[in-house]
Symmetry: C2
Subunit: 548 residues, 2 copies
C-alpha cells in the first residue's frame, strides 16, 4: 500500500509504528524509563518495568479528597429563561402548593412560617420558600474519620460518590443476582481503593440477605469500619436515621456532631410536588443533629413531571425550595444540598432512559438554579439503562457524567457502578467508571497557561519536521502531562491480541478482583470498633427477628 | 423486600413497573398509540405495533442537511489565554517559521506576499499570515447534487461526516480485514441511509483491492452515484485532485464550479510546522477551482507537538495560519476550513490515545481560536483507540463527540465508524455512533422556553401526587419531546433477555445489515452517469496497470 499523506496519515502509523518511532529516535529506556515500555524485554528489564509500573500507579493516583474545578460551569439558560423558571416555580408553590403527607410537625412548621395549610396541601406566599432557604450554608465540610479525607461540599468543589440503591448486583462470574452484605462490603472496599472516588456513599447495593429492619446497622458499620472516606446515613425511617446519628457519635464523639457534619444523606421527594412523612422525618433527624441532607426530586420526566425540560426544572425548583425550607425551619443553618435527579421516560415503551440530551439539559439547568440559590448541588453520575457494561452503558454514562462535571455539580451520587437504570450495581462498571472519574478531574482543571504550559522553548529546540519526544520540555513534563486511564487499552491490535484480546469489561473483571484480593482495611481504634459492635448488637436485640 | 422510599426509589419500579403504571392509569393503546408498546399482544395488535414503529421511525429521522446550534459554544480559554496563544503563534511563524517542502510555487507566493524565505524555511512578518486569512469566507455552502442536501458550513451550523482514512474494516461476521471497494460502497450507503449523517465524507475506508493509482476514481464515483449527499475529493496527489474536479464538472456542470463549492477536501499538515508538496499541490488545485480545503494539523500531542495543550494549540494555530494563507494567495476568497485533529500520545507506551481530557481541551481551545479568525472549524468526531465497539470505544467516542459539538465545530469528520485509532472502519460502530449524532443534534437545540415548553397548564391539570402521562400537555407533545435512539435498549432485563439478550454491537450488527439490504440508490441522470463512467474508463486506460 502506498504511503498516503492524504488520508488521516495517522492510520498508517498508529500503534506499533508510533512506538517504533520512539525507539528509532534513540530515546533509551534508561534515560526516560516511563515513556517507553517496549513489548519484548529480557527478565531484568521486565523487573524494571514492574518498578516503573508501581511508580506510575502512584502518579496516576488522584489522592485529593475532592477536586476544585478550574473551568467555569457550563450554562445553557440565559437570564431571561432563569427568571421565567423561577417565577413559574414561585407560582407553583403559591397556587398549586406542595403536599405534605403523614408528618404533622412539618405542616405546623410551615404554617408558623406563614404558609397557607389546607389539609395536606401547603401553599407558600411568593418568595417565602426562597427566603427560608437563605440560612442554609453555601458550602460545608463533611468530616471523615481520616481527616485527610474531609471533603468540602459546595462552591467550585466536586465530590464523587458511588452508585446508590440497587437491589441487584452484576458481575461476569456470577451474573445478575440480588445483592448481599458481602457485595455491599465489596463495593465499600472498591470505593475505598479507588483514588478518584472521594466518598464511600450509602446504599452501594441493597444487602437483601440481612433483614430490612436491621440492615441499616450493618451498612453504616461497613462504611465506618472498611473505609475511612466520608459516608451517607440510613434514610429508610427516622428511627434508622437516629441509629446512624448514634453510631456517628460513637465514631466521632458525641459533642463533635453539634459542630461538625459527618454524614450526608439522600432525602428524595415523591414527585410531583409531594414530601412524605418518611422522608421529612429523616430530614428532621439529620437537620436537627447538624447533619447534611440532599433534598432531591427524583423524576422520570414525562410521567412524574411534564414532558419538557423547562417544565421539569420548574418542578425541581419548587420541590427543592419546599424541602430545603423545611430543613431550615428545623434548624437554621443546617447543611443541605439542592438535589436533582432527572431521567427521561421513553414515550414509546414507558421505560426510563439515560444519557439523553434532555437529561443533560436538566443537569445544566438545575445547576444554574442551585447556584442562584447559593446552595451546594447534587446531580448526575454515570447513569445508563444498559443491562450490561457494554457500549450503550458507556455512551450513556459519559453523556451524563461529562455534563455533570461541566454543570459544576458539587456532590455526584452514582458516579460509578450504576447499571440497568439503577436496578443493578455492576462490579465491572464500577472500576470502568472510576477511570472516567480520574479523567473528569483532569478535564475540570482546565488548560495550564504557565510558561511551562506554553512550551515555547520546546519549539525553539525542536523546529519544523522534528519530534518532541526527547526534548527538554517533554522530559520535564511527560509524567503528569496526559491523563492515564488504566482500563483503556490504546495498544496496537497485535499487542492487544497477544494479551488475550480482552474487551474493556473483561479487563475490568480482572482489575476489581485484584483490588479486592489486595484490600487492607484502614485501622480503626479497637475501643471504638467494640463500642460500635456493642451498639449494633444491642439495637438488633431490641428488634423483631426478621422482616424481609 | 420492603418498599423503600429511601433508596433512589427508581430502582424499585424501573422497566416493567414503570410500563405497568402507564397501563394502570388507563391510557389506552387506541388513545395514545405511540406511548404504549405493551410487551405481550395478540397478532392484530402486533401488526398495529409495526405500523406505529414505522411512524415512529419517521419521527426519529433527522432530515435536515446540517443543524443550527441553539446553545452557545463552550469556551475554556479566557481572553488573556487566547491572546497569549495568538502572540506565541505569531512568534513561532516569525522566529521559527514553517517549512515548505517540494513546492516551489508556494515559496514564491509566500515570498511575494512579504515572507522571508530561506531554503525551505518560510518566516512570516508579525501579523502577515493572519492578515492574509481575512479574505477567506466565514461560511460557505457546499452544494450536493440533491439541493435538499446542500449544507452551510460555518457560523452556528454543524455538519457530520463519516470516518475517514482507515486501511482496515471490521464487522462481527468477518472480523478485521483490509478494506475493499465493496466495503467502501457499503459505508457510503450507510451514510446515505443515516438521517443524522449530513455528509458522505471521503475515504470512508481504503479500498485496497483497487490499484492505488486508480482507486480515487472509483471512490469519488461511489460518492456521486450511491449517495446524493455532499462529499469530499481525492487528496493523494494534485493529479487525483484534478480528476476529482473534472468529475465534479461532469456531475454539476463546468461553469457551476466557478460559482459553487461542491467539494470539501482534507489537507493535512505534516506537523510540526511543515507543509509538504503533495498537500500544497492538492490545496492549490482545489482552491484555484473554488473548492474547499480543510487545512488541518494532524497531531499526536507529545510527539508531533509539545506535551501541553497550550503549546499544542499554539502550533495548531501557526500551522493553520500558514496553510489558510496559502489558499488565499492561490485564490482570495476560496472557501477554507480551520482544521484541528489532536490526539494525545501515551507517554508510557507511545500509543495514541483518544477521548482524553487533554483531547477535549484541545477541541474547545482550537474552536475558540478559529472563531477569532472568523473561519469555519473542523475537529473531533467519535474517536477511540479501542479494538472493538465495546465500552472503551463508547466512553472515548462520547468524550470526544460531546466536546466537539459543544465547542461549536462546523464540520465533523470521523463522526461515525472510527475504531482502533483510525486504523479500522467499523460497521457496527458506524450505526451505533449515528444514534449519538441524532442525540447531539437535539442537545445543540437547547431548552425550549416557549409557553408549551414551560408547561404550566400541565401542573394545573395534574397537581401533587398525580402523573403527567395522560394530561393534555403530554398528549400534545410526547411524539417529539424526548430524543429516541434506536440502538439504546431501555427495556427491562426480562424483556431484553426475551429478545435474545443482545448487547449493543449485536443489535448494531442486525441494523446495518438490514439497512444495506433495504438500500436503494438515489436516481442519477443516466447521461451524467455514462459520462462519469466514460471519464473513469478513459483515465484508467492512461494509467499503468497496477500500483499497489
Amino acid at each position: 500500500m502506498e504511503q498516503e499523506y492524504t488520508a488521516e496519515i495517522f492510520g498508517e502509523f498508529a500503534g506499533e509504528a508510533a512506538a517504533l518511532s520512539i525507539q528509532d529516535v534513540g530515546i533509551l529506556d534508561a534515560e526516560m524509563p516511563a515513556i517507553v515500555d517496549a513489548p519484548a524485554k529480557p527478565r531484568a528489564a521486565r523487573r524494571g518495568r514492574e518498578a516503573r509500573r508501581t511508580a506510575r500507579q502512584k502518579i496516576n493516583a488522584v489522592t485529593t479528597p475532592y477536586f476544585v474545578r478550574g473551568i467555569a460551569p457550563l450554562e445553557i439558560l440565559n437570564e431571561e429563561a432563569l427568571a421565567i423558571i423561577e417565577a413559574n416555580a414561585e407560582r407553583l408553590l403559591q397556587e398549586v402548593g406542595i403536599e405534605v403527607r403523614d408528618y404533622p410537625r412539618a405542616k405546623e412548621l410551615f404554617r408558623d412560617a406563614g404558609c397557607d395549610v389546607q389539609g395536606d396541601r401547603v401553599r407558600f406566599p411568593l418568595g417565602l420558600a426562597r427566603m427560608l432557604c437563605k440560612t442554609a450554608p453555601n458550602q460545608y465540610t463533611q468530616h471523615a474519620r481520616n481527616p485527610a479525607r474531609n471533603c468540602e461540599i459546595g462552591g467550585k468543589n466536586t465530590v464523587f460518590a458511588p452508585v446508590y440503591g440497587s437491589p441487584f448486583v452484576h458481575d461476569f462470574d456470577n451474573g445478575r443476582r440480588y445483592g448481599t452484605m458481602e457485595d455491599f462490603q465489596n463495593f465499600v472496599k472498591l470505593a475505598y481503593l479507588s483514588p478518584a472516588m472521594h466518598h464511600s456513599g450509602g446504599t452501594v447495593c441493597e444487602p437483601v440477605d440481612v433483614p430490612v429492619n436491621k440492615r441499616h446497622l450493618d451498612m453504616v458499620y461497613a462504611h465506618m469500619a472498611l473505609s475511612d472516606k466520608p459516608f451517607m446515613g440510613s434514610v429508610t425511617s427516622a428511627e434508622r436515621a437516629i441509629d446512624t446519628v448514634e453510631m456517628c457519635k460513637i465514631l466521632f464523639g458525641a459533642e463533635t456532631l453539634q459542630s461538625q457534619t459527618v454524614c450526608t444523606s439522600l432525602v428524595n421527594a415523591n414527585s410531583p410536588l409531594v414530601w412524605d412523612g418518611t422522608m421529612l422525618g429523616v430530614a428532621d433527624v439529620y437537620a436537627s443533629n447538624n447533619q447534611a441532607c440532599i433534598m432531591s426530586p427524583f423524576i422520570m420526566g414525562g410521567a412524574m413531571s411534564p414532558v419538557t425540560i423547562a417544565g421539569t426544572l420548574t418542578q425541581v425548583l419548587a420541590e427543592v425550595l419546599a424541602g430545603v425550607a423545611f430543613t431550615q425551619l428545623v434548624r437554621p443553618g443546617a447543611p443541605v444540598i439542592f438535589g436533582a435527579f432527572v431521567a427521561t421516560l421513553s414515550m414509546q415503551s414507558g421505560a426510563p432512559t439515560f444519557g439523553t440530551p434532555e437529561g443533560a439539559n436538566a443537569i445544566y439547568g438545575a445547576a444554574q438554579l442551585a447556584r442562584r440559590l447559593n446552595l451546594p448541588f447534587r446531580t448526575g453520575g454515570s447513569l445508563c439503562a444498559s443491562k450490561r457494561p457494554d457500549a450503550q452503558a458507556a455512551y450513556e454514562s459519559m453523556a451524563t457524567l461529562l455534563p455533570t462535571v461541566q454543570a459544576g455539580a458539587n456532590f455526584v451520587l452514582h458516579s460509578a457502578g450504576w447499571m440497568e437504570g439503577g436496578l443493578a450495581s455492576s462490579y465491572e462498571k464500577f472500576v470502568m467508571d472510576c477511570d472516567q472519574l480520574g479523567a473528569m478531574q483532569k478535564l475540570a482543571a482546565g488548560v495550564d497557561m504557565s510558561e511551562s504550559g506554553q512550551a515555547m522553548d520546546a519549539f525553539t529546540q525542536v523546529g519544523p519536521g522534528g519530534h518532541f519526544l526527547g526534548c527538554d520540555h517533554t522530559q520535564a513534563n511527560f509524567e503528569t502531562a496526559f491523563c492515564r486511564a488504566e482500563l483503556h487499552d490504546s495498544n496496537s491490535v497485535e499487542q492487544w491480541e497477544a494479551e488475550g484480546a480482552l474487551d474493556m469489561p473483561a479487563r475490568a473483571n480482572i482489575k476489581w478482583k485484584k483490588m479486592l484480593a489486595e484490600y487492607e482495611a484502614p485501622t480503626l481504634d479497637p475501643a471504638i470498633d467494640e463500642a460500635l459492635c456493642a451498639f449494633i448488637a444491642q439495637r438488633k436485640s431490641e428488634m423483631p427477628d426478621a422482616s424481609y
